[in-house]
Amino acid sequence: MSSVTLRELTKKYDGNDAYSLDSVSLDVAHGEFICLVGPSGCGKTTALRMIAGLESVTSGDIEIGDRVVNDLAPRDRDIALVFQSYALYPHMTVSENMSFGLKLRKVPKDEIKKAVIDAARILDLEQYLDRKPGQLSGGQRQRVALGRAIVRNPSAFLMDEPLSNLDAKLRVQTRAEIARLHHRLGATMIYVTHDQVEAMTMADRIAVINLGKLEQVGSPRDLYDRPANQFVGGFIGSPSMNFVPMHVESVDDGLRLVSDGGDMDVALGGVESSVIRRAGVSEVVMGVRPEHIDHVPRSGGGLQMRASVDVIEFLGNDEHVHLTSGDHVLVAIVDARTPLTIGDSLTLSASIEAIHLFHPETGAALK
């Protein structure tokens, strides 16, 4: 196992003006599970393929362990890649699929056999070793793809959306298995996904990428509690954070925020007021997560809003309530036992701790 370091890694394809990956720097510690997450086409898979050696580096460096591997062939980088499509060799049996890489490296036969049997036991594939991929279910194929990576005991595991071809139930199950596998092997894992739930549940740290740029790196809790900008705020968490543009107004003992039409207002404390004064803005974007909106009026500080109910999505334990407040549309999560009907007028609130403030132009979090 080793660390993986990206230094100002950049990728630009010929005939394409935009950078697919723009100066991304990232330290992945030895044994760490890191998720690269972002919307489709953000460059996260490009980054992974560059680490694997399947794409050339335009500029910057990739280090695995203490070697710069920019110009090394994929096979000399000592990494394993689990493909989104699994990429199993259809003409080989499960055991041949898993032993292929070891055979190429001229590992002694008895060691290969042992490695394959060990991996098969870990992944519960023992009774399928003589089957071909065509005779396996999606979940089993996925495990063979994992097994093929495990047997080689590489410095780092790279995974490219390995769960996206599984159905929802199997995905949750396999998610836990990969987390367990990481724990058991203590391996460095770089995992690419567009699904923030996968990232949140599995990763030690998450790197959020958008339009080729690294937006923020941090633990799932950091990203959830302290998003660096509006993009990360909106991307992490489901349903996603509500954003409302607000005007800054002075009141006797500090500042307050008011929405167009005045249906929402936030009484700011001293800390938030000084943050806004320091930024020197007269408008801000307020962010508040649906789960932090309470269906009660609140006295003193925080967000107060009047809104009417548009849509109610019943989910069992709670409900997602789509609201209109003035010209703004928001989502709130409320207890499913709350008696609500469409068209109801509500008074809602959120504590000042739940309010995120973003710069109206740059989108950066104000702090």
């Binding site: 399947l54 990429a87 060799y89 259809p90 065509g134 279910s137 298995e177």
Partner: protein, 311 residues
């Protein structure tokens, strides 16, 4: 982990029956109709072939006096006499067995070379990293329509030049015929292989590359096994084409004492007027080899070789 999922029952049904059923459903007709149609086609092809076989098994004297079908009422007509006579020359020059060997000497290398070179070229055209691959492919497609007749004289001259320059004139030799057949087999071979290889997911090659395979290993451990159905059909096409060729052999082997079966049969009709018993016997011999090739390659015509590769 997940439970063993039983494979769908449909997959267990014999492949042949399923295919008939699929065709029937698509054409909105019953399975019976499809089977009858298939039977008619089979009879249509089998009758002339069987009649040829029977003619070769009847004595020369009966040829002009009664039809081949009379054998069904008088099976005593059947004799291996023709074969004994034809084979009596053994492998001596001018005999059918000598021609059989010559045909094999031409056809086997011409087939193997085309299959090998086409696969390599197609691999490079599909998975290579060089520019202009599509352009080259278009040129190759264009070459498919060049009639081989236009090349006869230039190639003969080219061979002569080779002889003048290096003292190695392939004209009139078996390698000379092989080179010509390979050259004219390649455009179609590359076309077929390239179109097949584009269906192989790139991920498979990348997986191999990461696991430690170089280009050669990827080619013969991953791509070649998956391309077997295409290689089998290409080999059959090329084999039968070269096996049945008369024109190229006549032009390039004219005067050579070793002649392929096609020239042998042609000589029988030309020199000894209406020597049908030899022609029919020789024809059966020359049908026999392509049949063996066809049936031995048949098992590579597998549908769904890529099943389970991706997803």
């Amino acid at each position: 982990m997940s439970k063993v999922d039983p494979l769908e029952d449909e997959k267990a049904a014999p492949l042949k029956e399923r295919r008939v059923a699929v065709v029937a459903r698509r054409l909105h007709i019953s399975t019976l109709t499809v089977n009858i149609a298939l039977g008619l086609v089979a009879i249509f092809w089998l009758v002339p072939t069987i009649s040829l076989l029977i003619i070769s098994l009847r004595p020369e004297s009966l040829f002009g006096t009664s039809g081949w079908w009379t054998v069904f009422t008088a099976p005593s007509q059947l004799t291996f006499g023709n074969y004994t006579t034809v084979f009596s020359q053994g492998f001596a020059t001018g005999g059918v067995l000598n021609s059989l060997i010559t045909s094999l000497e031409i056809t086997i290398p011409a087939t193997i070379l085309v299959a090998l070179i086409s696969s390599l070229a197609a691999y490079s055209l599909v998975f290579g990293f060089w520019r202009g691959r599509d352009m080259i492919f278009l040129v190759i497609v264009g070459l498919m329509v060049v009639p081989l007749q236009v090349a006869l004289i230039p190639v003969v001259q080219f061979y002569r030049e080779l002889g003048n320059l290096f003292g190695l004139n392939p004209y009139g030799t078996i390698p000379g015929v092989i080179i010509f057949h390979v050259a004219f087999g390649l455009p179609f071979g590359i076309f077929l292989m390239r179109n097949f290889l584009t269906g192989i997911p790139r991920d498979l090659l990348e997986a191999g590359r990461i696991e430690g395979a170089g280009e050669w290993k990827i080619f013969y451990r991953i791509v070649l096994p998956l391309a077997l159905p295409a290689i089998a059909s290409l080999a059959i096409f090329q084999f039968i084409w070269v096996w049945n060729d008369l024109l190229v052999a006549l032009v390039f082997l004219g005067g050579n004492v070793h002649t392929p079966l096609t020239i042998y049969l042609y000589d029988q009709t030309r020199s000894l007027a209406a020597n049908y018993w030899i022609v029919s016997t020789g024809a059966v011999v020359s049908i026999f080899v392509p049949l063996i090739v066809f049936f031995s390659f048949q098992r590579y015509f597998v549908r769904g070789v890529l099943a389970g590769a991706v997803k």
